[in-house]
Amino acid sequence: MAQWQELQSLANTSLEQVHQLYSSVALPMEVRQCLADWIEDQNWRQAAEPHSSHAQMLFHSLLALLGDHLGSPGLGDEDFMLKHNLRKARRDLQAAFEECPEKFANLVANLLQEEQQILRLAQAGQQGGVAPAPSTPQQSDRQQEIQRRLADFQAALQDADRAFRHLEDAQDMFDFCYKVHYLPGENRTNDPEYIRQMQGLQAKLQKLDRSRKDVLAQMQQLLGRSETLQDFLQQELGAWRERQQSACLGAHVDTSLLQLETWFTALGEGLFQLLQLLRALGDLRHKVTYERDPLQAELPLLETRLRELLTYLLQNAFVVELQPSMPTSSKRPLVLRTASKFSVRARLLVRLHDRSRRLEAKIHIDRKPPEIRGFRKFNILTSNSKTLVAGDSPQDGLVCDFQHLTLKEQKVGGSGKGSKSPGEGPLAVTEELHLITFTLAYAYRGLELELETSTLPVIIISNNNQLSSAWASILWFNMLSTDPKNQQFFVAPPSAPWPRLAEVLSWQFESVAERGLSKEHLHMLAEKLFGSKPSPESTLAWPKFSKDSTSGFSFWAWLDGILGLLQEHLKQLWKDGLILGFVSRKQEKKLLKGKRTGTFLIRFSESTLGGVTCTWVEHPESGSPAFRAVVPYTASELASLALPDIIHDYQLLAEENIPENPLQFLYPDRARDEAFGPYYSQRQAGSLMEKKEYLNQRLIRVSSRQANESRQADEELVAATQDLQTLQLQPSGPGPLQPMPCSPGTLQLVPGGPEPPLALQVGSGVPELLQPGPGAVEPQLVLQLVPEGQGMLQVGPRSLGTLQMLPRSLEMLQPVPGVQEMQQVGPGDQGTLQAEPGAVEPQLVLQLVPEGQGMLQVGPSSLGTLQVLPRSLEMLQPVPGVQGMQQVGPGDQGTLQLGPGTLEPSVALQLIPEGQGTVQVGPGSLEPLQPLLESLEALEPVTEELDMQEFLQSLSEEPEPGSGVLETLQAAELMPSTLEAGDSRLERLSPRPARECQQPWGGTAGPLLGLTRCVPQAAPHSWTTATRSCPRPTTQPCPP
């Protein structure tokens, strides 16, 4: 925009300055206004030189233009005053400067300079004023400086361009005069006219020379300033690279390139313009040259310098905008798996290119592989070149987006299955850094370059289980490496200063669960790493971070376990700050000591990989406060029951008390339900009012503790048999369990260690055997026994295998809460109950109603519903449909075996009651089975798997298929009589708070599938387990 127009659009304070400027100046504002464009387009500076004919010419042109203006019809009567003023101004100017036009030129030159000054100040002020506005992000001083300098640079470029045009004019004029007047052939040295002309010619040449030098000086100055500008951009780009690196590590920072792209493009454009100017100057030299032509000496120098600057700018402008990452783990970029797709994007920040040429970028991996023994080599399988696309809109930029790239390892000498054999190289696979490089052949306006840029080093793994440690390496590298291309980094990895590490660790939590680590958290971690007195100068060595494993796992593995747990199950709680998380035991005591009984906090287990636990405080009447914590819950437990629900329903069976929830107040003093209320899963409130066939089940957690309680309250399973004999399990201890023999019932618990199957057996006829699983990490099955009414045994987990047993008669149930946390349940007869809850997607409801009119119902609420209604003590073996086998061995002492499928919910249950019982089998989702067994005779024990399948199929072809999940349990249709009984029981049951006896079941991360086989009565039960990872329900049972 023209300077004068810009000036007029300024704020009032600046306008005031303009008025002041013109109040005393010899050039009236009217004239300035009237001839604004012309005035701004002249080279007054040059004209201001002493004895300049240019000044004379300019001055007279101005007067003439003013005259034209006065005579133009555009000025009507209303401009009478203006006309008058202009006429007066013309007269005054003529009088004042007729003799010394160069003074006038100087005056105008200074005036324009002054105006520029005002403009610049005002614009800087405006920018300062605009910056705090919400729409524009805060700009740093440097960014403002860049903006200002870019504007200055462009203005200076225009000046230079103008100077060049004047130079061109001057040269043309000289050239013309020279050709006309210079006649060396004739001897006219005595002709005074000729001599005068020669002198004039000489003067013109002198002037031309000065103009050339002037323009060159301007170019020098411009180049000098652009070097500074380039320096600033370089710093900004460096800052962006750092931000990108941080963002890769999970920090929330702005990694937009838009601003940088604008700047780089502007500077690039300016420099290319300058290059053109230099070439045009070169052309001028070709037309007219003379001895000691400054263009001859300085132009090549200037051009070399400019080309170098441009090259440098372009080289830096080629960046990797998106670092390589796999879509499946986008939060952990730079870790690539062979044969998995990944994408990466490069961008040229200087948005200038020759539209007639293709800009082709190539991608390479490990262009210059480091000299490390055993360094793996990879090929990029997909096409390795791509054309840089410039979108039609200028915002799109020059981008090459490589997607769907895959890597394949080059097989070297037979070895190389992705992982290398030990001792092959000094670096582990997850410490091997690879570089992906882009090259781009760039050509624009006669400048041809090969640009190159590299990604941050990537780690290439062949298996998902390497992801965690690969990520640790990425963290370490990007946190500490000073050279972003140092592939030898892990040959001697440096130690990490704690403050830096703390920041990066915090980002991990921020990126996973949107909340970083607090000062307290970090303090605890520092204490854990560095001992009691961590200092900011502490540093952590790489092996100590990722490799040393005194506790069975490294620091990083532990932390990553927690991250995994957060991501899967505790995101919201963590985000909302309900999890205190990293609290040392010492600190935990300090925190809870002063709080009232029932105050609890949630923290991560230090001894378990990916475990979370609650610790609460109790203040006994005398003595010091006691702190208790439950065995940590891991992902597998939380998968079945969310932590808020665990907390809500948590029960502690203390010998002297009725079961109660010890978790009352979240530290520091928030009521439990107030804190966790929003997170409780939806209850089916009011369901008791409706006529429902079954009670809603709900899974809760219970712990019991001994009189001489240890610090950690163990969760226990208590089951009772008909004979009031008690079983007690203490599966949590690593040591042997205490089997409490009781007569006819057997309770068998095989809590999972890392991945053993779980089994529960209740009530076998033989002397009881209690078998806790050796791992016994965290048993988390809840067994609820609600003895009531007419002997109904209900085993029904709400989500993960809850068992409810309703023994036949009330008398038979003798809850003895006081003594050693036992529950006694008397089912109608002796039976064996075997249940295998699935670990990952446990959806078994088991309802057993044995005996007499008793109903045995086994049915998961959603998937795999079981309903077993045996008439008497028959042995029941419900087997999930997937495995498709079932065996029922009738006998006196019935056995019930349940094995719900873990991940495959198409549980088909087969029941073959011996007596007149009704059997209902209702699998959950896919195969609604409704066995209607009218007579006992119709059924025979099925022992063969195939037979069973046939049986199942036959069942599924029954005319009354259940349509949905819960609907399958429409027992009313099937068993009207039982329903009535059930209803009455329901009514009786409902108001009564269930006395619960609970059985924690083991189970950790691995998905478990229980498969039950036929168990001959009273025999030692055999178990088969299998792991299923496919969550897809199958309709067709398939034999294992």
Binding site: G224, E227, T228
Partner: protein
């Protein structure tokens, strides 16, 4: 007055006049007569132009033929108020030819032109012409450090007033004590010597690049063993022996010039420029840079060794062709200016920092001479 000074030579040949005649002699007289008038006009102009032009004492110098080096050095001299204070007191040579030949006088005239001028640049042709009479030719590229010494010597030689000579020396001369210790008999010789610039090598004794200006200074004052062919004759031993040569800093002047020897001799004995990054500070405290042993000065002297950067003469290009420009911090305004011959613009410290050098840019600007100014002149 500026406008009267640069009348062009009437040359009959069609080639560029090597210099322009100057009517300075006459003008000086006019100057005095016109002083009052000038003052008035200044007032007027101040009103007319605001403060921009007249307050801006930074005036460019036209390049009149490879004079970028001279121009840069002149700016460094003439922007130094300590120097111009002395220059203004010189006695005007009596005859016109003496005036024409007097470097300090011509410098003074140039200064006057620059200070009175309303133009963005003036031509140093008279001075250049004067210098050419002292074998400093036009149209020849000079090394800035070398030309600086030449200029300095010419000025000092041609100033007649003894007091001013003294002051000039004080302003620029660095005093050191040189020690030579024979490594065989511990015979020690000591002598005082002075210099105008500290020529700092960019490479250490093992030809590794030095990283900062401070390191260069430390290396400069680090004792050096003279062995092999460098052995010196020891009077005591009566033969050539290895010597330990060391230098101790005795006195630093008001204006301290450091010469960064940004070049090295390649194996093919061509001279290459060193473009690597070498930062220099705005404030320089010699007490922090040098150790006790490297100084030979009393506490008062040492206390005054606090310097602030005043000017940078930067070079761009290669050793055989290039361009000089000067960054000078105006002592009155405390603003940095960049002088590219006739182009002058106000810059920031960031622009000056661009002369640190850059290993990727071989043609960019690199600082060649650094001029530091004592912080609190007594």
């Amino acid at each position: 007055m500026g406008q009267g000074s640069g009348r062009q030579e009437r040359s009959k040949k069609l080639e560029l006049a090597t210099s322009e005649t100057m009517q300075a002699e006459a003008d000086v007289q006019n100057d005095k007569e016109e002083t009052r008038e000038t003052k008035n006009r200044h007032e007027q102009l101040r009103l007319v132009f605001g403060m921009a032009d007249l307050k801006n004492k930074a005036i460019g110098l036209y390049n009149i033929g490879q004079t970028c080096c001279l121009n840069s050095l002149l700016q460094v001299f003439l922007m130094n108020t300590h120097f111009t204070g002395i220059l203004r007191r010189i006695t005007v040579p009596p005859s016109a030819s003496q005036k024409r030949r007097s470097v300090p006088y011509q410098m003074l005239l140039l200064l006057e032109m620059m200070q009175c001028g309303k133009q963005k640049a003036v031509s140093p042709s008279a001075l250049a012409y004067c210098l050419s009479e002292h074998r400093v030719k036009l149209f020849v590229q000079y090394d800035a450090a070398q030309l600086l010494l030449t200029l300095w010597n010419l000025v000092k030689r041609q100033v007649t007033n003894a007091e001013l000579i003294e002051k000039l020396s004080d302003l620029y001369t660095i005093w050191v004590q040189e020690y030579m210790v024979c490594q065989e008999c511990s015979f020690e010789t000591k002598r005082n010597s002075n210099m105008i610039t500290l020529p700092l090598s960019m490479l250490d004794s093992r030809s590794h690049l030095l990283k900062t200006l401070e390191q260069c200074l430390q290396h400069f004052f680090f004792p050096e063993k003279l062995t092999g062919c460098n052995m010196c004759f020891c009077e005591n031993c009566g033969k050539k022996t290895p010597f330990l040569q060391s230098m101790k800093l005795a006195h630093l002047p008001q204006t301290l010039i450091l010469h960064l020897k940004r070049f090295y001799l390649t194996e093919s004995s061509s001279i290459q420029k060193l473009c690597h990054y070498l930062p220099f500070p705005q404030g320089l405290d010699f007490n922090a840079v040098l150790t006790e042993e490297q100084c030979q000065a009393d506490a008062g002297e040492k206390a005054s060794w606090q310097y602030e950067l005043f000017a940078v003469v930067a070079h761009s290009g290669s050793t055989d062709c290039g361009h000089y420009c000067a960054y000078v911090r105006s002592l009155t305004e405390c603003k940095w200016y960049c002088f590219d011959d006739s182009e002058v613009c106000q810059v920031l410290w960031d622009d000056v920092k661009c002369t640190y050098g850059h290993s990727d840019l071989h043609w960019g600007q690199t600082a060649y001479l650094l001029v530091y100014m004592k912080k609190n002149p007594q």
